[in-house]
């Protein structure tokens, strides 16, 4: 069977799958789910649409909003909503002229990289809805409806859409919509929505490449290459690729593995053969080093250490079970001390 035949078969299998309907019985899915109570719906159905459906009654002034902003928002977004440290600036880049035209002119400029929230957002409902559900970022849903009105009034004031003495309410927000700087800045004239539900939707995608196979163009010219400074900006790529296979990663930075060198005591334990019977966290032949550390935690440390050093040197059994630890004749007393101290401190890897 040809590949394309197989693909077609598979594709039709998908088609069949989608036509599959749930094998419900005559009385549906009995005892699955239950009706939601009005209070439950009220608690969760908090979305506010662009037509203001779902908008709660309430109001807030710019000056009250400023208090909330300074207490709960400015730390991340800056006093004037201009901060770039935690997220992109919320305010800036819009003009009085934009408020008239409904298009933010700076969005046409290629020499104006900033794109603040107010430069983009067309619908004021979006901001009310979002602040109410998600801000402050670290304490979402903690603002009252009136506080959301107030802090939004303050943001609108920072963006010079409403005056200092403004009161934003569920009624006045409709006037604000008519002054949103980018209110006419959205288009749905594209083919990236799977239905015909929006005005001006395009029937066809906006690019139309052809599957040319030979002599498609006279030459292949590079339009852009990775800038030299960007080569090392993502760490050492050698460490982001497998050590086997047809390729290796390029060395683009220092070897972090070297920086994270294992602790010398771990190396000593390896070299002394301890790790053939002991692992840090799991029992192998002998107890795990973390078990040993846990058993002796809080005991008189000098005496414990001395006893364990002798035990390691001489070997023995009975403390953990019937399996004996063999004597470690070649191990120096100093090394034994280092090892026991390391084990009692929890056997850190680094």
């Amino acid at each position: 069977m040809s590949r394309s035949c197989k693909a077609a078969l598979l594709a039709s299998a998908v088609g069949a799958l989608l036509a599959w309907t749930a094998p419900a019985l005559a009385d549906g899915f009995a005892n699955v789910g239950r009706p939601a109570t009005p209070a439950e719906i009220k608690a969760w159905d908090i979305d506010v649409g662009p037509d203001f459906a779902g908008l709660p009654k309430g109001s807030g002034t710019v000056s009250r909003g400023m208090e909330i902003w300074e207490e709960k928002c400015a730390s991340c977004h800056g006093t004037f909503g201009e901060s770039n440290s935690v997220f992109n600036p919320l305010v800036g880049g819009t003009t009085a002229e934009d408020i008239k035209t409904g298009h933010v002119a700076a969005l046409k400029r290629t020499d104006f990289p900033a794109r603040t929230t107010f430069m983009k957002v067309a619908t004021v409902s979006t901001l009310y809805d979002y602040i109410r559900r998600a801000m402050p970022w670290n304490a979402p849903k903690s603002l009252s409806d009136d506080d959301v009105y107030a802090v939004l009034a303050y943001l609108l004031n920072l963006a010079e859409i409403v005056p200092d003495d403004y009161t934003l309410t569920d009624a006045t927000i409709r006037d604000v919509q008519k002054r949103m700087p980018n209110r006419d800045g959205m288009t749905t004239a594209h083919a990236l929505w799977p239905g015909p539900d929006f005005p001006g939707m395009a029937a066809k995608p906006d690019t139309a490449n052809a599957a040319c196979m030979t002599n498609c163009k006279p030459k292949a010219e590079l339009a852009s290459q990775l800038p030299e400074h960007a080569r090392g900006a993502h760490g050492n790529i050698a460490e982001q690729n497998r050590l086997i296979g047809p390729v290796r990663g390029q060395r683009t930075g220092p070897d972090t593995a070297a920086a994270e060198a294992p602790s010398p005591a771990l190396a000593l334990a390896e070299q002394s053969g301890c790790l053939s019977c002991h692992a840090v966290d799991t029992r192998v032949v002998g107890p795990s080093y973390s078990e040993i550390a846990a058993r002796y935690r809080g005991k008189n440390s000098n005496e414990t250490a001395d006893a364990l050093v002798s035990k390691v040197k001489a070997g023995g059994d009975g403390a953990w079970g019937a399996v004996p630890m063999p004597p470690q004749d070649d191990l120096s007393i100093d090394d034994a001390k280092t090892l026991v101290a390391w084990i009692l401190s929890g056997a850190p890897q680094k």
């Binding site: 197989k6 957002v121 979006t126 990236l192 239905g195 490449n209 990775l226 593995a257």
Partner: protein, 479 residues
């Protein structure tokens, strides 16, 4: 200890302080990785030797005699020689530590982990892309993945307000209407309820709308992990949303849009196209690759919207609202809107159009040597199945049809391969996918001609990897 240190450890191949400066290139024939043995170890090889040494020591109790030799030869194990010196490969002639000792017991790792040698392939952030890590992205390591399924622990992440590990016994899904007449009986479902309903399992890709967004204007990042790694593919198990809507008595004629809402702090909302709900494709999923969803991917419940950008796949899904007009939520009115050259933003752009990328060899890698390679990559389309993929090695002047590995599924990743004999000369690798609608993935020039360079979202242009004579592969763009 010093007797176990492989010779050559002190002479790394490149100067770590001058990234990319190949201080020993004179020795290594045009800078290509030479599969030469000892005295020629990269830092990685040295590290591998180190691990081998640890292995050896762990097993020394049982294999004391054999091991000394094996460890000393560990350096050579790192890169096998093309031609064998002496009697043969010591990895064959001398007992290996793993072949001559007792291994670890069952359930030593109750939840299995990848080999410690695979630590390179992990999710990574792109430095400087975002200001804070709880509103950020981690990219999947596409450069090292095989086939089409993304291991759940390597699935890319995009969080807007951090991730949560929700108590599944306390998780609820509510279905209601924007107006009372849209849903006859608004309902609440527990996870028990949802998992009782007839399940379906389907494989789909998920791609962030901003995938490849850093590259709209010019090349910006070095590897496929960062250019294309906001892409993953899983088998999802769950219930078609349509089943739930019917169970609640939703008016599927009046319904034009559906709102999906998350249960985390952001309670992220997105307008979902009713067409994909009615077709049965949109599902409320709890399963991912045979187990429950990972917390980072929405445990215990997320929406799956095949073919549509990831932001619509609401994680920690708590509510579905049936409505008759779009919602202009924050992530469809401030973000995930595509800036066009005329200053207008395209809103409600959702479909991830046909796209492909070669993952091996890819940016930041170096070919081992001249000779045989398999060019391998991924293709996908938000409009259905991939029909064919063509690969060019001369920057798009001439193309060859690649082989598509099965399965080839709708709105799912498809793996393609093409045999390639690299003659050691510079090459420009590209892949170009065509989907079942006949749409052909655009070149950068074509895409920019209509959308400019400032869109951020939905960049599905043909990717080019430049292969230099040295074997180094680098990210470049061709119009």
């Amino acid at each position: 200890m010093s007797n176990l240190r492989p010779t050559g450890e002190a002479t790394p191949r490149t100067d770590p302080l001058v990234p990319g400066a190949d201080i020993s290139s004179a020795d290594i024939r045009a800078g290509r990785l030479r599969r030469a043995p000892e005295n020629f170890l990269t830092a990685d090889d040295i590290r591998q030797v180190g691990k081998g040494r640890r292995d050896f020591l762990r097993s020394s109790f049982l294999a004391a005699a054999a091991a000394t030799g094996a460890a000393a030869l560990g350096g050579r194990a790192a890169i096998a020689a093309t031609t064998v010196a002496g009697d043969g490969d010591p990895n064959i002639l001398t007992p290996t530590p793993w072949g001559s000792s007792l291994g670890l017991p069952v359930a030593a790792n109750p939840y299995g982990q990848p080999s410690k040698h695979e630590r390179a392939l992990v999710r990574r952030q792109s430095p400087g892309l975002t200001q804070v890590p709880a509103a950020s992205v981690s990219f999947a390591p596409l450069q090292g993945l095989f086939g089409i399924i993304t291991p759940s622990g390597l699935h890319f992440e995009r969080h807007h307000q951090g991730w949560q590990d929700i108590d599944p016994t306390r998780h609820r899904l509510m279905v209601n209407g924007a107006r009372p007449d849209f849903v006859k009986t608004p309902k609440v479902y527990t996870m028990d309820d949802i998992m009782r309903l007839p399940p379906v399992s389907r494989m789909h890709f998920i791609e962030c709308g901003a995938n490849t967004g850093m590259e709209w204007g010019n090349v910006a990042v070095p590897t496929v992990q960062y250019t294309h790694g906001m892409l993953s593919c899983s088998e999802f198990t769950g219930v078609p949303l349509r089943t739930l809507l019917e169970d609640c008595g939703a008016d599927l004629k009046a319904a034009k849009f559906v709102l999906a809402e998350g249960g985390d702090g952001s309670s992220m909302t997105r307008t979902i196209p009713i067409e994909l709900v009615l077709s049965g494709e949109v599902m409320v999923a709890y399963g991912q690759n045979g187990e429950m969803l990972r917390p980072e991917n929405g445990y215990p419940l997320r929406l799956v919207v095949p073919g549509v950008q990831g932001v619509s796949w609401a994680k920690w899904l708590r509510r579905i609202e049936v409505g008759d007009r779009p919602y202009a939520t924050k992530d469809e009115a401030v973000h995930y809107i595509d800036l066009m050259p005329d200053g207008q933003h395209r809103q409600y752009t959702s479909i991830q159009e046909c796209k492909s990328v070669i993952t091996s060899p890819s940016g930041g890698q170096t070919l081992l040597d001249k000779g045989y390679f398999t060019i391998s990559g991924l293709a996908w389309s938000g409009r259905g199945a991939v029909k064919r993929v063509d690969v060019s090695t001369d920057g798009g002047m001439n193309w060859s049809q690649a082989t598509l590995q099965t399965p080839v599924l709708s709105k799912c990743l498809t793996r393609f391969t093409l045999a390639w004999n690299w003659d050691g000369r510079p090459a420009l690798l590209q892949s170009r996918a065509t989907d079942e609608t006949g749409f052909v993935q655009p070149a950068y020039g074509q895409l920019r001609a209509v959308r400019g360079t400032r869109s951020i979202y939905h960049n599905n242009a043909i990717q080019t990897w430049q292969v230099a004579e040295s074997g180094d592969v680098n990210n470049v763009q061709i119009l």
